[in-house]
Amino acid sequence: MAEGDGARPYLRIEGVSKSFGSFVALRDISLAVEEGEFVCFLGPSGCGKTTLLRAIAGLDPQTTGTIIQDGRDVSALPPSARDFGIVFQSYALFPNLTVAANVAYGLENRRTPRAEVRRRVEELLDLVGLGDQGRKYPAQLSGGQQQRVALARALALSPGLLLLDEPLSALDARVRVHLRHEVRELQRRLGVTTIMVTHDQEEALTMADRIVVMNQGVIDQVGTPREIYAQPANRFVADFVGTMNFLAGTLTERGRVRVGRLELACPEAADGLGQGAAVTVCLRPEDVAVRGVDAATPNAAKARVASAEFLGPFLRAYLAVEGVDEVELTADFSVNAVRDLRIGEATELLVALPPDRLRVFAAG
């Protein structure tokens, strides 16, 4: 984490809260972003991620708390006195100006010599791969191209901080996947500290150095995509990122949980929970083991495929597990495994819930 490595973070947010009347949109947010880092704010709509981004930009200042950017307290400054470039979901390109004029918009205002402006605009357009499109108007470009123009415009003044507010969500799925990669590449090349707001977990997982998962105005977890996915900090994060099985159980002893009539070994079983505590056991569908499982495998259980959906590279099976009556266990089996083991509807299987993959949270 940022505080630990001793270097001064580029952006420090301390105790930031925002309220609209009696509604609290952000509650006591603290966060540090390193120079050159790509951070994603991830969360469902209304979680406060855009509110936090707009507070960082100064567009809708926080009610209380401090924001320090590059050693300077910007908490109370108007947006024009801060140092950032921004791209909105709508791109907000000026429709009556050409692509080149859009990119030059901030440069011209600084009394930069005309030739210098032209050179910089060309450079920026080349950077986003639109070198030959400068004379067109935004409406003549595709959505993906417009998005790149907005990016070039935001980078024109070489800001220290790049803010992206759901920049890809207005695009087609295919273009979106392509642009994810491009934006990330560009950010790496320029080394500009970047914060992106998104509600798309896949986008956050593929693009971010670190993800900030937000829910109901608070930060639930900060971590690398791997940490967020493999070790969700709580039930909300586990549920929001990826697909997850939730099994209700009771802690019988340290490291062991009873689910239905099964008794599972859970070495991770949360500390601080007493015997008999109600817990939720979480397991990703792809972590359900089916190859090389025998009765001696830890946490093995008999199961029957109740129904299954073919999803291309894998089969999503809903398993009725012997001893667990309330819920079906969702399991993703690779097409290979399906072929080899002849898995289909009503197949009887022996599966295992690998102990090191189980996450346990207090129920509630």
């Binding site: 105790g15 809260s17 309220s19 009347g21 009696s22 509604f23 609290v24 509650r27 006591d28 930009a57 100064g58 567009l59 200042p61 926080q62 009610t63 209380t64 708390g65 908490s75 109370a76 400054l77 108007p78 947006p79 024009s80 006195a81 801060r82 950032f84 470039g85 921004i86 909105f88 709508s90 907000a92 000026f94 429709p95 009556n96 100006l97 918009y105 901030g106 205002n109 600084r110 108007y137 935004p138 409406a139 003549q140 415009r153 935001a154 024109a156 003044l157 800001p159």
Partner: protein, 565 residues
Amino acid sequence: MAQATLNGTIVRPRLGRDDIALRAGLLVLGLLFAVAIVFPLYALLSKSFQDKHGAFVGLANFERYFATPALFYSIQNSLEIAVVSTAITIALAFVYAYALNRSCMPLRGLFRGIALVPILSPSLLPGISFVYLFGNQGMIKWVMGEASIYGPIGIVMGEVFWTFPHALIILTTALAMSDARLYEASTTLGASKLRTFVTVTLSGCRYGLISAVFVVFTLVITDFGVPKVIGGQYNVLATDIYKQVIGQQNFSMGAVVGLILLLPAAFAFMADRYAQRRQVAQLSARAVPYQPRPARGFDLAMFGFCAVVGALILGILGVAGFASLVKFWPYDLSLSLKNYRFDLMDGGGWASYWNSIEMATWTAIIGTVVVFVGAYLVEKTRGFTAGRTVIQFLAMMPMAVPGLVLGLAYIFFFNHPDNPLGFLYRTMAILVICTIVHFYTVVHLTAVTALKQIDPEFESVSASLKVPVWRTFGRVTVPVSLPAVLDISMYLFLNAMTTVSAVVFLYGPHTTLASVAVLNMDDAGDIAPAAAMGMMIVYTSAAVRVAHAILTQGVLRRTQRWRAR
């Protein structure tokens, strides 16, 4: 509002130069509003509690008003006229709008154009036409039988003619907001045509209907031109104000009648705002516009109806045009331009006409700038909620104030001996100010609507690029909203040409106006020259309108290249 409890000190955002500029602009606008509407209305209110010498007399004026049957009968007359005229106008305009939007009859564009023609004329003109048609020496006087055109019948006919386009504009807009999917659903479910009409068509445009009803009601109850010309001995509130002030110089009683006239207008205004707010939420972005399909009988019937209405509109205007060219009605029917030699009559002569052109031009230019900048300030200022709310309220206020009442309020305020702004009285400047204020609300709403359609993040982006907000306003906001800006200037020009009510109290010997000249010549019995001057207004408005259309198209083609894909 309850404040949530948060720890830490509250952040007080520092104002940037954009914030300061926008807030300063709002303050200036507030000051203008104070002088141009708040203080005058206050002067009117206080005048109603004073006697002729300015001493406070409490409610004595109101007591005298209600003790004088000749005066308070006008309330009933006004309401009756307004209700009847509204009912007829709405019925005609609805069928006409339905024909334009929902039938496949031929010449729909032409019919739409014809229906809007009355907007080009002052409300005095249809009155004059009806006098020529049905008056004592009327062309087809026999149609009236024993009845007289001078009175309620004439007033209602004139009001229907004059308010028809206003109702039509609202109703065509409401009917255009249709969702074909609802019709398909209704047909699939086996509903009859009548049931579909009631449950889908009528309920879909019900707020438009309500809005049209109140707009027409307000126009009629506050109109002064038609009853002045053709009302005869039939008194209504609007003519009472005029008579009290101009005829009897009884300003206090004029103020009382003005306040009474303010009530129905203000009520209708609030009801209309309520209806319009509901209408907006009606149509979802996914709606599929309804496309009418040819149906022979229906299309023919609709064509017949529109042809009759259209012929009546053109006919009524044509009568005035014809009458203005006749040498001496009804004795010498040879044609001449004698009636256009205005310099030989009372009313200010051709100077009035040129004054009107000058006044309308200034109103269009200054009004468009003030209104558009004002709407921008209200929409784009960050924070400062109190200031924005006050300005927004003040911008809506003129709609509820009838022109006559506004003009009267201006007399009290600007003609007050202690007012340092008194030098404005009877100048071109006060006519321009008053006219801008009179029509402020409608154009303000047009500007706000146009601004709301622009991406709200333009200002955020330009702030992040350190570009001052006024630069973005000039380089992006204005060019992008150019069509709306041109519409606003057009609307202001046309209304400045045709308005009588507010300015009738404010003109001076050197600032007579064409529309007022129509009134005064008609008053003096020079009815043919009055018709001629009225027609000059119509010709001018029509010419300006055509020029505006050509100009708009040219400007759009040159500057709005970016709109094309």
